[in-house]
């Protein structure tokens, strides 16, 4: 949560004046600040006896981060959707050989993946290298937002996939073909979810 400027300034002044953290918290609570606001305000300053108080590292926002991460996650989203579409086309070919069989969808998905997969790999490898060299980049607010949005999307797809499997089962439409498609959706979204969950945990630990 963002801390207001007045609250931040007050906390810094109080710490500089030698007030204890408990005293500051009591004063702020009595003035109507919520427990989470008080906690955020105090945690913004390192708990060291040094004076003046030392600020803790804060999350950063930059236009460059937005460009890099929007591109990386956009490419991931576009590629993941087309990977699922491609695998679904292949499943249709393998299981159901009675409908109109067009190769346009498969060729379009191949074209998308040939562009998006190497782009995503390159951007990710580049980002990993920078994070290894400077863990401060884990504090990029845009990176965290994009990662959490990806986790939200992946978990939403996983839940929707589960719902559709149960619905198909109850409706009597649960075929091997349907199961294979549901597994593809689950596998792709599950891999993305687990990968970025591990990434967030790694960032928190850094």
């Amino acid at each position: 949560m963002a801390v207001s400027k007045e609250l931040s300034r007050f906390t810094r002044d109080a710490l500089s004046a030698g007030k204890s953290r408990d005293e500051i918290a009591t004063a702020l609570s009595a003035s109507g600040w919520s427990a989470s606001e008080v906690s955020d305000a105090l945690s913004a300053w390192a708990d060291t006896p040094f004076a003046p108080p030392v600020p803790r590292p804060q999350s950063t926002v930059s236009a460059r981060d937005f460009f890099i991460y929007a591109l990386m996650f956009g490419v991931l989203l576009f590629g993941a959707i087309h990977l699922v579409l491609l695998l679904n086309h292949l499943i249709d070919r393998a299981f159901d050989d009675t409908g109109y069989r067009s190769s346009h969808g498969i060729r379009w998905a191949i074209a998308v993946l040939v562009v998006t997969a190497p782009t995503y790999l390159w951007l990710t490898a580049r980002e990993r290298g920078k994070l290894a060299a400077d863990p401060a980049l884990y504090r990029s607010a845009i990176r965290r937002w994009m990662t959490y949005l990806t986790l939200l999307g992946a978990s939403g797809v996983l839940l929707g996939d589960l719902v559709s499997v149960i619905y198909a089962f109850l409706s009597g439409d649960f075929t091997l073909q349907f199961l294979a498609k549901a597994l593809v959706v689950g596998a792709v979204s599950g891999l993305i979810f687990l990968y970025y969950l591990g990434d967030i945990r790694k960032g928190d630990a850094a």
Binding site: L83, Y100, R101, S103, I106, R107, A187, L191, I192, G198
Partner: protein, 144 residues
């Protein structure tokens, strides 16, 4: 753990791309599929033209072989439909007073031939024909 997941994603994408290319073939095969679709469309167009412009051939015992005028609007001139690869004309054969066919040689056999765009075409190996015949009480032309 994350490296393993990343490797799994890469393997999934590479596997999907490889399988897809095996299923649909490369650009050469795609061109052949397009040419075959063009041939199928050409045979249909030419068939409709011949229905409306069949010459009267007394040796076959016909008097008025043409389709009804209301179905022949726009089929006065012969379409310039030729094989997209060889640029040769398609083979027209009138086997009887009530039957004719327009044939082409197709390049692929990977597309199911009982479905669009080949559902009207009768295949004998690589050769495919649209067979038109007059049947029934009204003796109207129809694709066989």
């Amino acid at each position: 753990m994350n490296k393993l997941l990343f490797a799994a994603c890469v393997a999934l994408v590479c596997g999907a791309l490889g399988a897809a290319l095996m299923v649909v073939g490369g650009p050469g095969h795609a061109r052949m599929e397009k040419n075959d679709a063009q041939r199928a469309a050409n045979l249909r167009i030419l068939g409709q033209y011949y229905r409306c412009n069949l010459p009267v051939e007394p040796s076959l015992g016909d008097s008025e072989p043409q389709d009804t005028p209301d179905r022949c609007a726009g089929h006065v001139r012969k379409p310039d439909a030729r094989d997209p690869v060889t640029n040769e004309e398609y083979v027209f054969t009138r086997s009887s007073a009530d039957q004719f066919e327009v044939c082409a040689t197709f390049q692929t056999d990977t597309q199911p031939r009982d479905r669009y765009p080949f559902q009207d075409i009768t295949f004998d190996g690589a050769e495919g024909c649209v067979v038109h015949a007059r049947t029934g009480a009204g003796m109207k032309w129809a694709i066989q």
